[in-house]
Amino acid sequence: MQTVSQIIPAADKPRRVARVFGHTPFLAWLLGAAAAVLLEHLLGETFAGLVGLSKVPVLFGLMILMSKPLLFPGALLYVAVIYLLPLLCVAGLLTRPANLVAAALLRFGPAFAVIVHLALFYGVLHFWADISGYRELTVKFTLIAVLLTLSLNLINGYMGEFSCSHPGFMALGAYGASTFTLTLFVNNPLFGKALLPGFLGPWLFPLGLVFGGLLASLGALLIAIPSFKTRGDYLAIISLAFLFIVKSLLENLPFLGGPRGMGGQPDYAGLPVVFAWTAMGVWIMNNYVRSTLGKSLNAIRDDEAAAEAMSVDTRHTKMTAFMFAAFWAGVAGGLFAHVMRFINPATFGVQRLAEMLAMVYFGGLNSVYGSIVGAVSLNLLGEALRPLELFKWIFIPLLLILVMIFRPTGLLAFREFDAVRLVRPLDRDSQGGAP
């Protein structure tokens, strides 16, 4: 009898955890994260000293694991006490009130609820990144990677084509936006004196990004026209050729700096700007793939002839998707140029293409969640494995191979991303009695 009574609670444990956290809404998790970040701001430095670390572990102690394994227990303890403990406590304690608040927010309309959540999420991210400039830089590059990955996923995942021209679009956006800001707001050797006063710069910067994006769309149009009749491998080859054309073009245009590149971009791409553009991009692209246009993309992927027969204008749909994806790649390129504050043609080569494809296929095809997961995990891994040097380039590809073997479409493929579903309350009353 005794053994049985010992077994039952053990087997019951996951269920008990599910009972505690199963009804915890996203809002409560965000509040928990906010508490953790606040605690880090107040006590992070002191506690890090207490567990034998010289600084707050920058990326959840991942880097310490690789560079100084002896310090890893301390980093683990830090993550447990500063992040996990407040996260779980606050999320658990606030489950009921957060459910009520989430329900109240939804009453003002789904858009309002989503924006409040997004603002809270940004707050958490901002304070987390505030601890160190390195964190902030990593977050910025990761957000840009999310935008790039999702835009490539539109073509390679949702439309089912294999496009290799994305670094080219990114380059067009980067050079377009840089030319815009450098000509208008900065005195520089390439374009001479600034045409407008500098204080306008941050306000007109979105225009520069849109300009870069439109330039990339134009590039997409140029390559879409000759590739109407091609699919599969042939489109891949044409798009690869486009990538090389853009790169050589930029190398041979002396007024854009040639192979020496273009530097001195003004510092307009702070974390709020990058976050706002990424959030907007994800939102718009998510709406796009859930619209009729997006669904017809899937139809084309699965059977183009059948889609055509079912009244899908395939040519129009493909062209829109291509230009739309290129626009966001261009915006991401513009942001990238202003975070780096230097670009050269060699940055937008085949290696960048490989990175982007890896993020898309690692995260998952045809999925917004997948793109976010792919971009974030590969970016964090890339930073965390920095101390391994050469072995980093063995480990990451190995991981990719394993994912391709065990989940051929990526980690989180074919998921729909519904922001309203994400922010809804999870208690029984608001779900109409369903468990």
């Binding site: 567990v51 034998g52 670390l53 010289s54 600084k55 920058v58 880097m63 100084k68 002896l70 310090l71 890893f72 227990p73 301390g74 683990l76 303890l77 160190s132 400039g133 390195y134 830089l137 990593t138 590059f141 050589s248 190398e251 041979n252 040639g258 192979p259 020496r260 590149g261 530097g263 990238f336 780096m340 504050r341 230097f342 670009i343 050269n344 043609p345 060699a346 940055t347 290696q351 930073e383 920095r386 040097e389 050469l390 980093k392 380039w393």
Partner: protein, 390 residues
């Protein structure tokens, strides 16, 4: 089963007590090395790393760097920049903020040094790039220095050398249009040559793209022009293709190069076709004397090959860093203050005796130093031919 949590806690505590930082006394001086260990040019990263390790060995053998009567131990923080600009930016930011390095050495190539220099300057951390020749690396950046001469200096050096040595009046240039270094230097050479010999004296100005391996069409054009000499500012791997191909096409006149030729692998790849040719560089390994010879011998004994200019320039840069730290007179322990002190001391360095020549920094943080013209001997050594000073 119950004991596992307790064991875990015990292990954690033990780990913390054993951690080196729990009982360290004097805070070591951290020097950041930003090198392309992986990526397109791993040999550059290797040379950097080896020179840095040799330097660390020397410093630690002396017990550390002596500043104001206190010996500080030194710690190297080596980060890989993968020969990519954004990775160089990330590595620089990480070393400045997370590792709190006092001073940065590298990146080497301009495509990484230009953006990384911007980061170092904005965080007010002194940085010295041993090998970057692009003027933008240091321009308007008080915290950024370099250890080598610039293209606007090297171009005229080569032009003057050819004029003085051979008395030619018509030259041809063959360069990689996609590599910023080659293109920049080709332009500087053209400018200088036409200044000496009048406009139109560069009779052939031919280009190709990175990773091209067949140069016969460009070389035929050059051969059919009236050029008396070819100047090709290419990396050693391409030089080893260009020179034999030119010889096969019947070009028997001289071919002259720049500092990018100066790799131990050049002669191995190029063979006898390259012997007797001249190029300008930072130092000559064969026939070196004094400290330079000592460095070369030690490097060769330790790593098995004669160091190329990256290694020598990194060595000099690290010694400049060391001297600047010593010259501060006192380290306060406050990193921002010390970084500024090191920067000021570095800017004041005059007539520094490096193994690649005497150096004095200009306002922009660029050294005034001499270039060396070397001749590739029949036995494949780079022999000193003459020294050209500004």
């Amino acid at each position: 089963m119950r004991k596992i949590p307790y064991l875990l806690v015990a292990a954690l505590v033990a780990g913390m007590i054993c951690s080196p930082l729990a009982w360290s006394k004097t805070r070591p001086i951290k020097v950041g090395i930003n090198a392309p260990i992986t990526g397109d040019n791993p040999k550059v990263g290797e040379g950097t790393k080896f020179a840095a390790e040799m330097w660390l060995e020397d410093v630690m053998a002396a017990g550390g760097i002596m500043v104001g009567g206190v010996r500080y131990p030194v710690q190297l923080v080596i980060e890989d920049n993968e020969y990519k600009p954004e990775s160089a930016v990330k590595a620089t930011t990480k070393m400045v903020i997370e590792d709190e390095v006092l001073v940065l050495v590298g990146p080497q190539a301009s495509s990484q040094a230009v953006p990384a220099g911007g980061v170092a300057d904005s965080y007010a951390t002194p940085m010295i790039s041993p090998w970057s020749t692009n003027p933008n690396t240091t321009k308007d950046r008080p915290y950024v220095f370099r250890g080598c001469f610039l293209d606007p200096f090297q171009g005229p050096v080569v032009a003057n050398f050819i004029k003085g040595e051979f008395g030619f009046t018509r030259a041809a240039v063959l360069y990689d249009v996609a590599a910023d270094y080659s293109k920049g230097l080709a332009e500087e050479f053209k400018k200088a040559w036409e200044k000496i010999n009048g406009p139109g004296s560069v009779v052939a100005y031919e280009s190709f793209t990175t990773k091209d391996t067949d140069f016969s069409s460009q070389l035929t054009k050059i051969k059919n022009s009236t050029a008396e000499v070819i100047f090709t500012p290419q990396y050693y791997s391409e030089v080893a293709l260009i020179v034999p191909q030119a010889r096969d096409l019947g070009w028997s006149k001289p071919i002259v190069g720049s500092d990018s030729w100066g790799s131990a692998d050049l002669v191995k790849l190029c063979g006898p076709a390259c012997s007797g040719l001249f190029f300008s560089t930072h130092y000559a390994a064969a026939g070196a004397a004094g400290a330079t010879k000592e460095f070369i011998d030690r490097y060769q004994a330790k790593f098995g090959y004669v160091p190329d200019d990256v290694g020598a320039l990194t060595w000099d840069s690290l010694r400049i860093v060391q001297k600047a730290i010593e010259n501060t007179g006192k380290l306060s322990g406050k990193i921002e203050q010390d970084r500024k002190a090191v920067r000021d001391a570095m800017a004041k360095i005059k007539e520094f005796e490096g193994i690649t020549g005497k150096m004095t920094f200009t306002e922009d943080g660029d050294p005034i130093k001499c270039a060396v013209v070397v001749r590739i001997t029949e036995s494949g050594e780079f022999a000193f031919h003459k020294s050209v000073c500004p």
